[in-house]
């Protein structure tokens, strides 16, 4: 699989994840926010909770479930990115949550979404 395919798969996964989360009643505030530290896939509002969401997309589970790809180090980076985002946007909220959404998108058939709340 080439880099372009991978990017396209990632973008597809993020669309699927965003739709899933919006169906859950969340509101998308920002997408693919970049800074020197890295990128935030999705920033959402869930009631009065600000949610930073990492989306992992894979074709299958040959190399493990997409959720397993997020380890402690990645969770820490996500937390740092969240701090940067709130700083830049001058947002003051009482509740912040870090989520991970794993999307399994096989070449055929529908994608499956697993949403894990409150990572790290």
């Amino acid at each position: 699989m080439g880099g372009k395919d991978q990017q396209a798969l990632g973008a597809y996964g993020e669309r699927v994840a965003a739709r899933h989360l919006v169906e859950q009643g969340m509101v998308v505030l920002d997408r693919n926010w970049r800074c020197p530290v890295g990128e935030l896939d999705l920033v959402l509002r869930d009631g009065d909770v600000l949610v930073f969401c990492e989306v992992k997309t894979r074709r299958g589970e040959a190399r493990g479930h997409p959720l397993q790809a997020v380890d402690t180090i990645k969770a820490q980076r996500l937390r740092r990115l969240a701090a940067l985002w709130t700083d830049e946007h001058q947002v003051r909220v009482d509740h912040v949550r870090l989520d991970v959404v794993g999307v399994t998108a096989p070449r055929r058939g529908p994608a499956t979404v697993v949403h894990s709340r409150g990572v790290g």
Partner: protein, 528 residues
């Protein structure tokens, strides 16, 4: 979703039934192990994950897995937690076990990556602990079923794999699985050591009527014994034959001994019950942990515990480091040994007979009875050596004997046919029966274990003998503790002679046995 299974954590020989709780929840995808696990339990998550995946089940990859071993303050060691952890994970994730299937079941077993179950040490004490807590069913590795079944009132199930354990708890048909390798024994040592000791007999010992009688009294009452004598006189030969004149262990004794050996992992699957009194003869270079118990990590029982209800033989004991000899004092008195550590105490039984052997001097030629010895030691060295033998440990030895080389005329005596072990065993068994009847309402069984106050009030010597013993104490030739020990030996002598209460004759024999004076040959003749 929280699921709970049960297993047993061992602290020394004492087992605690513990809950293994698994919670699957949101959060970072990882497995957290809490409740003071040791390294081996921390590695259980890798074994369990692979075993579950390779058994056709699915490890919950999309959720955070938290494993709690509770009570959480108890430090836990070992690999036998695997089965309980894996089943709890299955119960929390994909398997709906029937209601109550996990209630009152203790799961014991280590998992390999392919889902097969491996044997673990200590199954017997674990099952004993489970039974004491009212657990009715235990699941153990298949080769260890015999060991677990020694415990009354518990249903034992042997399994070969995680799949079999799963099917068992689901109430389904048990699938086939390759058999489990038995725990490795110690064939190299048992090959010569054990089989050789099975063949020895007192019949091989010529002469030495004096020492043979001392052995008989020691065996009858379970007394500690010290044999001194020049090299080659037959100290080891005599000591090795003590188990041949000890009766078989009763059910309770053999359960205790088997539990200790289960902890050491040395039981043979086919014949797990140890019914013969053990004979342990550690070399004088053995470490402190080896003899008393201890070691890194888990506290292993030492030789003093493995010789429970049997014989611990320390040859050349003055060569042992002084602190080991000193440390033996506590188990000698109390019949159990406690190894205290910062985070855990382990108490093991240590109720065997201690048999010590030593040369009378460093070169091994000195003989206190005959003057024509060839000893080349200086008096100073000899005294130095004797100082190690005597002291606090000697006060706790009931019977001391000099073993003299047998003179030629006794060795070739065509009329003196030595008795066999079987003959002596009959008398020892009879003496032990008398003790059992006498101590039926007490919580000890042998004269050697009777506490001093109880002896003086409930089981005194006859009036003359009591007076004679008191005189010895007032004269300063015996300590109070020494007098109590003589009192116990006097009872053993009386039991062997079939006398109902020890009198002056029995006391005289006991005093001679303790103080290493030669026995009156007339007293030996009387017992026939």
């Amino acid at each position: 979703m929280v699921a709970t299974t049960r297993t047993v954590s061992l602290q020394g020989a004492i087992g605690h039934v513990i809950d293994v709780q698994v919670d699957l929840g949101p959060g970072l995808i990882q497995t957290a192990m809490v409740g003071r696990p040791d390294m081996a339990i921390n590695e259980a998550r890798e074994r369990c994950r692979a075993a579950i995946d390779n058994s056709g089940f699915h490890w919950p990859v999309t959720r955070r897995t938290t494993v709690l071993l509770s009570p959480a303050d108890l430090p836990k060691r070992g690999t036998h937690f695997d089965l309980a952890i894996a089943v709890a994970v299955l119960a929390a994730s994909e398997t709906r076990f029937p209601d109550g299937a996990l209630e009152g079941v203790v799961l014991i077993g280590e998992l390999s990556l392919d889902g097969r179950i491996r044997c673990v040490p200590g199954v017997l004490p674990m099952v004993m602990a489970a039974a004491a807590r009212g657990i009715g069913r235990v699941v153990v590795p298949e080769p260890q079923v015999g060991e677990a079944a020694l415990v009354d009132g518990v249903e034992v199930y042997g399994v070969r794999s995680l799949r079999q354990a799963h099917a068992l708890l689901m109430g389904e048909e048990i699938p086939e699985a390759p058999p489990v390798e038995p725990p490795t024994g110690n064939p190299l040592l048992s090959w010569r050591g054990q089989s050789r000791l099975e063949e020895v007999d007192l019949f091989d010992v010529l002469g030495m009527a004096d020492a043979r009688y001392a052995l008989e009294v020691a065996a009858a009452g379970g007394h500690h014994l010290l044999l001194t004598g020049p090299k080659g006189a037959g100290k080891t030969t005599l000591a090795e034959r003590i188990p041949t004149i000890l009766p078989d262990l009763d059910a309770q004794e053999s359960l205790e001994l088997t539990a200790i050996h289960s902890l050491c992992g040395g039981l043979v699957p086919g014949a797990p019950v140890l019914t013969r009194p053990p004979f342990r003869a550690p070399h004088h270079t053995a470490s402190r942990a080896g003899i008393l118990g201890g070691g890194t990590g888990r506290v292993h029982p030492g030789e003093v515990s493995r010789a429970h209800h049997g014989v611990l033989f320390l040859d050349e004991f003055p060569l042992l480091p002084g602190d080991i000899i000193e440390a033996l004092r506590q188990p000698l008195e109390s019949g159990e040994i406690t190894i205290a550590r910062g985070d855990e105490d382990a108490t093991y039984p240590a109720g065997g007979m201690l048999v010590l052997a030593c040369n009378p001097c460093p070169c091994g030629e000195y003989s206190p009875l005959t003057r024509d010895h060839r000893c080349i030691c200086t008096e100073v060295r000899r005294r130095e050596y004797r100082r190690k033998i005597s002291g606090p440990i000697a006060d706790r030895i009931d019977i001391t004997r000099f073993v003299e080389p047998v003179p030629a005329h006794e060795r070739n005596d065509p009329f003196g046919r030595p008795e066999s072990s079987a003959d002596v065993l009959v008398r020892v068994t009879e003496a032990r029966c008398r003790q059992r009847v006498r101590y039926a309402d007490d919580d000890w069984r042998l004269n050697a274990h009777a506490p001093g106050p109880a002896l003086r009030t409930a089981y005194p010597l006859d009036a003359d003998a009591t007076r004679a013993l008191d005189t010895e104490v007032y004269a300063g030739s015996l300590t109070r503790r020494g007098a109590t020990r003589v009192h116990r030996v006097a009872w053993s002598v009386a039991d062997l002679r079939g006398v109902d209460r020890p009198g002056c004759a029995e006391l005289d024999t006991a005093l001679r046995l303790r103080t290493a004076r030669p026995l009156d040959l007339a007293t030996l003749a009387r017992r026939a």
